[in-house]
């Protein structure tokens, strides 16, 4: 078969073996973090009591803390972390730019605009059983993705990464200006709430919002699954990829759509939590190399563990007051990323 990628530094020794090892290793890490995280919190709970079915749920404070407060947080952290990390990997390959993040192409700004419009003006709007802020942010994110997609694609032609980047960056600034304008028109409490939304929050309160985001997440992951081999070649260059038989236009579209869907779902669930989509992919590449067949699954698992860990810090370090999780990811991720940058050069 075809070699994995021209840039893979390590000798090709059974990709299946390495993939299995990575899935087992990173899977064990993610599982361990997800199992341990709900056991720790601002208060001590008794697990025996939490799982004691003889106590009615309404009387069982430990079970309430475990199943209402902690489990949804950990699960949403895992879903959002995995989603943002993989979306980051795909975005970096698509744009062939190591600084690309899931938010580079305006998806998060669109989501923020949707959320902020509802927070400011939609005090009485409701959409079925779903609460309006996630729905509006999802709509905003998809709208932004649709605009960039429409601008950057021509029938039967490959996407220009320059056009993609410029369209995305411009849309980001444009939406940010609209956000500032809406904030300016809003009153103080609303402005405060929108700023808080922008910091990200995983305390979703129940399983419904997570379940609601799953169809999009799973669809995006299914698209990710067919991408790695083409992404390996695409990250070398569009010309190289097409001479090796990659349908470049199709791969680009799939990459764009999947990462946009994933990002939209993650942001509407928990707000735009920064740094996960850039720190995790680079960390993972440092550990497993650049082959997307390994980087993608490893990033998903490591991203889940990373964000659940960050949220654990966020909810315990200053308890009973919380630190916004986006602040924690930035505080941990920023210096680490700089260290990585200096070390490599």
């Amino acid at each position: 078969m075809m070699p994995a990628a021209a840039t893979t530094p390590r000798p090709q020794g059974g990709i299946q073996v390495r993939l299995t090892a990575i899935l087992l290793g990173y899977g064990a890490l993610a599982a361990a973090v997800c199992v341990l995280a709900p056991l720790v919190g601002s208060t001590h709970i008794s697990l025996a009591r939490a799982f004691d079915r003889s106590i009615p749920f309404a009387d069982n404070v430990d079970a309430q803390i475990f199943f209402v407060a902690r489990m949804p947080r950990v699960l949403s952290g895992a879903v959002v972390g995995a989603t943002l990390a993989t979306a980051g990997v795909v975005m970096q390959a698509l744009l062939r730019n190591p600084l690309a993040t899931p938010f580079t192409l305006g998806v998060s700004a669109g989501a923020a605009l949707g959320a902020i419009l509802v927070i400011t003006f939609g005090a009485t709007v409701t959409i079925g059983v779903l609460s309006p802020v996630p729905v509006a942010s999802l709509a905003g994110a998809l709208l932004a993705a649709a605009i960039v997609y429409a601008l950057a694609t021509r029938p039967g032609r490959t996407m220009s990464t320059a056009v993609l980047l410029l369209a995305g960056v411009t849309l980001n600034s444009f939406f940010s200006a609209l956000i500032l304008f809406v904030q300016y028109m809003a009153d103080f409490t609303q402005t405060y709430r929108t700023v808080r939304w922008l910091m990200g929050d995983l305390d979703v309160g129940s399983f419904e919002p997570i379940v609601a985001s799953l169809p999009l997440v799973l669809l995006a992951f299914a698209m990710f699954a067919v991408l790695p081999r083409s992404l390996n070649l695409l990250s070398v260059g569009a010309d190289t990829a097409s001479t090796r038989g990659v349908d470049v236009a199709r791969t680009q579209r799939l990459a764009f759509l999947s990462s946009s869907l994933a990002t939209s779902a993650a942001v509407s669930l928990a707000g735009p939590i920064g740094f996960v989509g850039i720190v995790v992919p680079h960390l993972v590449r440092l550990m497993v190399g650049v082959d997307h067949r390994l980087v993608l699954p490893a990033s998903a698992l490591f991203g889940a563990a990373f964000l659940v860990g960050c949220d654990l810090v966020a909810r315990t370090v200053l308890a009973p007051v919380e630190v916004p999780v986006g602040v924690v990811t930035a505080l941990l991720g920023g210096p680490f990323f700089l260290w990585l940058l200096v070390r490599k050069s």
Binding site: A58, N60, V61, T124, L130, G205, S206
Partner: protein, 313 residues
Amino acid sequence: MAARQKKLIAAVCAVVVLSGADLIRLARANPTAFAPQVQDNGARRIISLVPNVTEILFAIGAGPQVVGVSSYDDFPPETKALPRVGALLDPDTERIFALRPDLVIVYGSQTELEGQFARAGIRVYAYRHAGIGNVLQTMRDVARLAGRTADGDRAVGDLQAQLDTIRARVRGRPRPRTMLVIGRDMGALRGVYVSGGVGFLHELLDIAGGDDLFADIKRESVQPSNETMIVRAPDVIVELKPGNQPATATLQRERAVWNLLASVPAVRNNRVHLLYGDYLLAAGPRLGRAADTLARALHPDAFLVAEPKGPGR
């Protein structure tokens, strides 16, 4: 060509000389000399950038002296007819000057604005947001500045009497541990903000006979996680929301959001109250009414006994 150029240069020189003279005159001018003089009997033209101070001005009968209000003012209804001059972030200095005020009420944080008006010789009162004691002091201060000291003392006395009545009414009753919610996302238990252990809302809750669940956190507002709310287990949850009460269906749906915290006593004993009204969140003369509403939610029994009949409620 050359002649035209000379003419042009001469014209430019003339303009420069003229404007130079103007500049000197401008620099010598003392703006305070042009400012309206504050008479000893109080300010006649007042502009308020702070809605709850506007409310105080109207409550002490200084409404006719108010010539401009902030863009957020909507109470009392008379304010709607007045010119709007911006607010905390966007004060329209030009409009304010154009209205020739002799007293401008600004937020304590608007120090630059304060300096601007001081240079122009316009008296400034800087409002600082704090507890109920501060509201009462603000009432006295602006009353004095508006030349209505007696009216101010009366308004302060009235408000204090209202608050004392409510405090007396709930005295001796068990004080429920109350979570006073001042913000939450629609239809979800997310983005919950509650009153912490400082500020007028915290004090209002104390007067209305409730113990603040987050009194130990010395901040005006706190964002507790679901875990913290479950662990602290409030006896009563009161949500204060601006605006009018919505349709019953919306109200029921919003109250049902709390059912998620099934073990919390407030939820189990059906003591979750959603109270609507701008007056509940305004640190001004309507605090008495807000305390009354809050006390009725916390201690309905205390208000069951027939009140003395008469006009009023």
